[in-house]
């Protein structure tokens, strides 16, 4: 017998609950070593590693675990890079680099974030924003939205996919800005390795 499944596996649920809430901290760490332009890629690679960890349940501090992966990956890239940051070089072997303010970058999933999302929804193209509001604020089903707006289900799907992708990306950028605002030190300088 087939059963209804949520389309999330156990490891995905764990990942969403334990790993993703600290995304801004990983990006900050990655940006510190590799620069903002490469940070997202480094973080995504770290995520992929984490999702390939078979015994993920035994990881007692997922945040520290992922930060360590980010650190290792950064180290690997730095060793191959022609341009590195002075501060990064100084930290290359310091794997126990302090994680100074565990919650400073964590974005509270509270009212202010929800308000921010409402603003993000409103900044979507009008029909896309309308569909997202009907689905997530009013809680209408895709079929009901299609009927209400006299559009096809597949058009509803396209609006939802577009809105969800833009909000997910916008959320990353929003967190990156928070991280930027939280960073006390000046931007690292670059040196060229010969």
């Amino acid at each position: 017998m087939e059963h209804i499944v949520s389309w999330l596996r156990d490891i995905d649920r764990w990942f969403i609950a334990q790993v993703l809430p600290h995304a801004a901290a990983y990006r900050a760490r990655a940006a510190y070593f590799c620069g903002a332009e490469e940070a997202e890629d480094l973080v995504q690679e770290a995520y992929a590693r984490v999702l390939k960890t078979p015994d993920y349940r035994t990881i007692s501090t997922p945040r520290a675990f992922v930060l360590t992966i980010v650190h290792h990956l950064a180290l690997e890239r730095l060793r191959r890079a022609r341009v590195v940051r002075i501060e990064a070089l100084a930290c290359l072997d310091a794997l126990d680099m302090p994680d100074p303010s565990p919650d400073a970058f964590a974005v509270a999933a509270g009212r202010s974030e929800l308000q921010h999302w409402l603003v993000m929804i409103d900044s979507l193209p009008p029909q896309c924003a309308r569909v997202m509001r009907m689905r997530k604020v009013q809680g209408l089903s895709p079929a009901a939205i299609a009927e209400e707006l006299s559009i096809s289900i597949s058009t509803v799907e396209k609006h939802i996919a577009k809105g969800l992708a833009l909000i997910t990306i916008g959320r990353r950028e929003h967190e990156a800005r928070l991280e930027e605002a939280c960073r006390p030190e000046s931007r690292p300088r670059n040196i060229t390795r010969n």
């Binding site: 999933a109 309308r130 895709p142 509803v156 939802i160 997910t168």
Partner: protein, 309 residues
């Protein structure tokens, strides 16, 4: 170890693809096997999907957020009153964020919801079922238009008609919109559009409701407001119109793992009106306190006990 640096466009595209899968799963139109193949093909796909799924789940918090911004879309006219009332309910964001995370299923042979969950499924093209809390339906995969309501309550939207079996009785539903609820051994059917018939001469038309207890059928014609109350659950609301507290608790407790009980028999006679969110009882309890001075205390087992303040 790969040190390949992929351009930012790659991540944006991947996020777009993940969102595309999610929206199709949400609408019940995804090819689940193809989705799983895509996700399994690359851990980056899995990470991208988990990220959009997290955003999708977190956006559910908007449904319970008290907001100053009116949630009325000018293009859609006035939002139903219950929506506005629900939007004004107390912040229960944490409950929403931690709540059940159920997606639509496609071509499965049964669908279930736990207490407090709400699920929409599409067993076949043109057939959409919303399951209320603590409900279960089943169908044969070879004949998805033949549904069986085993427990709880569902709303049915059918474009080509379907069959519904409840308590061993079978009903023929024409294309239309319906609500079906099991209440113990009896069953309540409501017709919003279309019509219901069975082999025993029953014919229900739009606007009619029937309570069937064995061979006994009680029919009544309902106005639009009453039919609206029947399906308020689809918007996570409970609409009361002078019912007793006893009845109200019976309804709201369907959605709560930690039940609310009356600690003082005299309270059972209180009559209530209004619209309340079913995802979190805080608003309901506050209304009881404000209007009737009823105090709610949480018992050792998590249940909530009502007493006169």
């Amino acid at each position: 170890m790969s040190t390949r640096v992929t351009p930012p466009q790659y991540h944006a595209q991947l996020t777009g693809t993940a969102a595309d899968w999610l929206s199709r799963l949400d609408a019940g139109t995804a090819d689940v096997v193809a989705f799983e193949a895509w996700r399994d093909a690359d851990a980056r796909h899995a990470a991208a999907f988990a990220e959009v799924a997290a955003t999708w789940r977190d956006l559910d918090g908007l449904r319970l957020m008290p907001t100053d911004a009116p949630m009325i879309d000018p293009a859609l006219g006035t939002m139903p009153r219950r929506q506005i009332l629900r939007a004004a309910m107390g912040a229960a964001v944490a409950a929403a964020l931690g709540g059940g995370f159920a997606y639509r299923a496609y071509a499965r042979d049964h669908a279930v919801t736990g207490v407090g969950e709400h699920l929409a499924v599409s067993p076949a093209p043109g057939l959409s079922i919303d399951l209320n809390t603590d409900s279960r339906i089943s169908w044969r995969m070879s004949a998805p238009q033949q549904l069986c309501l085993e427990q709880g309550e569902i709303a049915i939207a059918s474009k080509g008609g379907c069959e519904l079996a409840v308590n061993g009785e079978s009903f023929r539903l024409a294309a239309g919109h319906y609500n079906a609820r099991l209440r113990g051994d009896s069953c309540e059917l409501a017709v919003f559009s279309g019509g219901i018939s069975n082999g025993a001469g029953l014919h229900l038309v739009a606007g009619e409701m029937a309570l069937m207890a064995g061979a006994r059928v009680t029919l009544r014609t309902s106005d639009k407001a009453e039919l609206g109350r029947v399906t308020a659950w689809r918007h996570d609301t409970l609409v009361l119109n002078g019912e007793s507290l006893d009845y109200a608790l019976g309804e709201i407790n369907r959605y709560l793992k930690d039940k609310i009980v009356i600690g003082d028999p005299a309270l059972a006679r209180i009559r209530l009106g209004g619209t309340f969110g079913t995802r979190n009882p805080a608003e309901f309890l506050q209304a009881l306190q404000d209007s009737f001075g009823v105090r709610a205390t949480t018992g050792a087992n998590g249940g909530i006990i009502l007493t006169r303040g």
